[in-house]
């Protein structure tokens, strides 16, 4: 996650710094400008993060949060041997994959199409971004309707070809339905981010390629994709984080049994499991352990991604 920092401007030698105050202003103002961000982050991000770690080592009741009973790593070992935790972990992973992979692939294709010169490009761009403006709650309520097994629009269409899945109670259909909501909301947004990156790819690369006889598909796979790889990595990271945190969609999709992720936990994600432990079951310590487990999983994924990137880079430089 190294961020590219631009080269400095040449120091302004001619400028005459007359007063000490002026010099102080120059030295201190950068810190003053970044201070609000870091102060708020420390208060509402870092401090709670550490506190959650401390809580995860205790038994704490939601209603008596000041009474803390030391448990060591007991909450974590308990998670390890808990079936519901593993179900939630597996669900988070499968829903993450079936929402992220089609979403990013579709976004990539749409961005490629939007990159052509065309009429009504403004309309198309705003149209595919419209789902982004729709809230999780509103979108989920609409899709609950569309996926209703008895009178929903989707089953009405599928009935025509003889399919009748139960989108609420069966594991795969319910996970596909939830992933559909995620995909619907985020595909357009990702497409526009890809489009931005594609527009920055130098045109002469394509011309050189077409001189060499490369067709459109080859240009797409050999020029476009490699050129925007950093952006693709960025969207993969952001989507992975989003998938790990998935909460609102399954929660509202489940209606009355949303918190437990369906009657058989068939679509309970880690976030939902954490909420169920912390609030309905009032066990803040165990919920904190789930939260930290989520962070550890993200760090693990980040490490893997980092290693892959480094391996790639080394290969490219070596080869």
């Amino acid at each position: 996650m190294a961020t590219h920092v631009r080269a400095e401007a040449p120091p302004a030698a001619r400028s005459s710094w007359r007063s000490r105050l002026y010099r102080f202003d120059l030295k201190a103002s950068p810190y003053a400008f970044i201070a609000p961000f870091f102060l708020c982050f420390a208060a509402f991000g870092l401090f709670p993060l550490v506190w959650t770690g401390w809580l995860s080592l205790h038994y704490v009741d939601l209603l008596k949060p000041d009474v803390m009973e030391w448990k060591g790593f007991g909450n974590y070992t308990r998670l390890w041997s808990n079936d519901q935790f593993w179900t939630a972990l597996r669900n988070t992973f499968t829903i993450g994959v079936i929402s992220t992979v089609p979403q990013l692939l579709t976004a990539l294709g749409l961005a490629h199409l939007l990159n052509y010169r065309m009429r009504a490009r403004g309309f198309f761009r705003v149209a595919i971004l419209a789902p982004y403006a729709t809230s999780i709650a509103a979108a989920t309520l609409v899709f609950v309707q569309l996926f209703n097994p008895d009178y929903g629009f989707i089953n009405w269409m599928l009935d025509l070809v003889g399919f009748h899945p139960n989108w609420y109670s069966d594991t795969w259909p319910s996970q596909i339905a939830i992933s559909t909501i995620v995909t619907w909301r985020w595909t357009g947004y990702n497409a526009l981010i890809y489009l931005a990156a594609m527009q920055a790819v130098p045109k002469d690369l394509y011309e050189a390629a077409s001189l060499d006889g490369a067709n459109r598909w080859q240009q797409f796979t050999r020029i476009t994709i490699p050129s925007i790889r950093p952006t693709i990595m960025f969207t993969i990271i952001v989507s992975t984080i989003g998938a790990t945190q998935l909460f609102g969609e399954p929660m509202l999709f489940g209606g009355g049994v949303g918190v437990s992720g369906g009657s058989a936990h068939q679509f309970q994600t880690l976030s939902l499991y954490m909420y169920e432990l912390g609030w309905p079951s009032r066990q803040l310590g165990r919920a904190s352990a789930v939260a930290w487990t989520m962070l550890l999983i993200l760090l693990l994924i980040g490490l893997v991604q980092f290693l892959i990137t480094r391996y790639r880079k080394r290969n490219e430089l070596g080869g």
């Binding site: 190294a2 961020t3 631009r6 400028s15 202003d25 120059l26 950068p30 970044i34 609000p36 708020c40 509402f44 991000g45 709670p48 993060l49 506190w51 959650t52 749409l110 199409l113 052509y116 010169r117 065309m118 198309f124 761009r125 705003v126 971004l129 403006a133 729709t134 809230s135 709650a137 509103a138 989920t140 309520l141 609950v144 309707q145 209703n148 629009f153 009405w156 990156a197 527009q199 920055a200 394509y206 011309e207 077409s210 060499d212 006889g213 952006t231 984080i241 790990t244 945190q245 609102g248 929660m251 509202l252 209606g255 009355g256 949303g258 803040l284 939260a291 930290w292 989520m294 962070l295």
Partner: protein
């Protein structure tokens, strides 16, 4: 995640392709980046899929619950919209919810834009010790799931007896790492060092530089960031759901009361009406300012 921003090269390059490629992606010479009919069809399908659920929300919100529950479901708007709206208003305090969401999203986007511009300017254009390390830290904080801080925040908020009040939702979201990064990317491209130097030579202190140089140049990016944050804050669900109650909800919390709790067989038309009322303000913003938002995203400011 390391990229620099580069301006799109001019699109006038319309070379004839000497060797005409074969196959599906073949284009006539000279039309090298022009959309063909297949492109229009595919984009049309994408636009339809994007817009249909929104259209259907309106259809369901303007029909009776019984009609919505029929198979096949209705496909054209009915005349029940006002009835459904008043029912939705009875089930959840939509008026308060809309007002609360406006206050929360307004405060959050104002402060995020202000603080992000200041920090983004510092990271883009000022030299100070620890700059690179701190910038990396900003980016790293984006990866922390909000769930991690929810439990202690909940204790802080209840300890201060803030739960149920709007400040419990506003204060934790006053800054956003994404915004800092966004403004930094924009300002390192858009703001020339010479302008800052000129102001300095004229004797301007840092606050004057911010006010007279940075803000005027950053204005378009600030507007885009403001809208993005507004949308995000308006749609935020998890934390408001944890700390707010149905007596003083935001729109999303109110929607969860209309939709949740009673299973799948309550009046679907009313649920859809709630969804419509909760989404409409944002869709209106999008209808009016959508091009600017899209322009802001595609201008490269969001690229990372």
């Amino acid at each position: 995640m390391a990229t620099t921003l580069s301006t799109p090269s001019p699109r006038e390059a319309k070379h004839a392709e000497p060797a005409r490629p074969r196959g599906l992606f073949r284009r006539k010479a000279g039309e090298h980046d022009k959309a063909g009919p297949v492109t229009y069809v595919l984009l049309g399908v994408a636009a339809l899929v994007s817009l249909f659920p929104l259209y259907w929300t309106f259809v369901a919100a303007s029909n009776t619950g019984e009609r919505v529950a029929l198979s096949p479901p209705p496909m054209v708007p009915g005349g029940e919209l006002w009835n459904n709206i008043s029912t939705a208003w009875d089930q959840a305090d939509m008026g308060t919810a809309l007002l609360n969401s406006t206050i929360v999203a307004g405060c959050v986007s104002l402060s995020t834009v202000l603080f992000s511009t200041l920090a983004g300017f510092a990271f883009a254009k000022l030299r100070f010790r620890g700059r690179n390390a701190l910038l990396t830290l900003v980016v790293a904080t984006m990866t922390i799931p909000p769930q991690l801080s929810v439990i202690p925040l909940y204790r802080i908020v209840t300890g201060l007896e803030w739960s149920g009040h709007l400040q419990s939702v506003i204060l934790p979201s006053l800054v956003a790492a994404f915004g800092v990064f966004f403004m930094r990317q924009f300002l390192s491209e858009a703001l020339p060092f010479e302008l800052i130097e000129a102001a300095r030579v004229d004797g301007a202190n840092s606050l004057r530089v911010i006010w007279h140089v940075v803000f005027p140049i950053a204005r378009p990016a600030m507007a885009v960031l403001g809208m993005l944050v507004f949308v995000q804050s308006w749609n935020d669900f998890f934390w408001p759901f944890v700390v707010l109650t149905q007596q003083n909800p935001t729109v999303q919390v109110a929607l969860s009361a209309i939709g949740g709790g009673s299973g799948h067989d309550i009046n679907q038309a009313v649920i859809m009406t709630g969804a419509l009322v909760g989404t409409l303000p944002l869709l209106l913003i999008f209808a009016v300012l959508g091009k600017h938002i899209v322009g802001g995203i595609t201008s490269g400011a969001v690229k990372s």
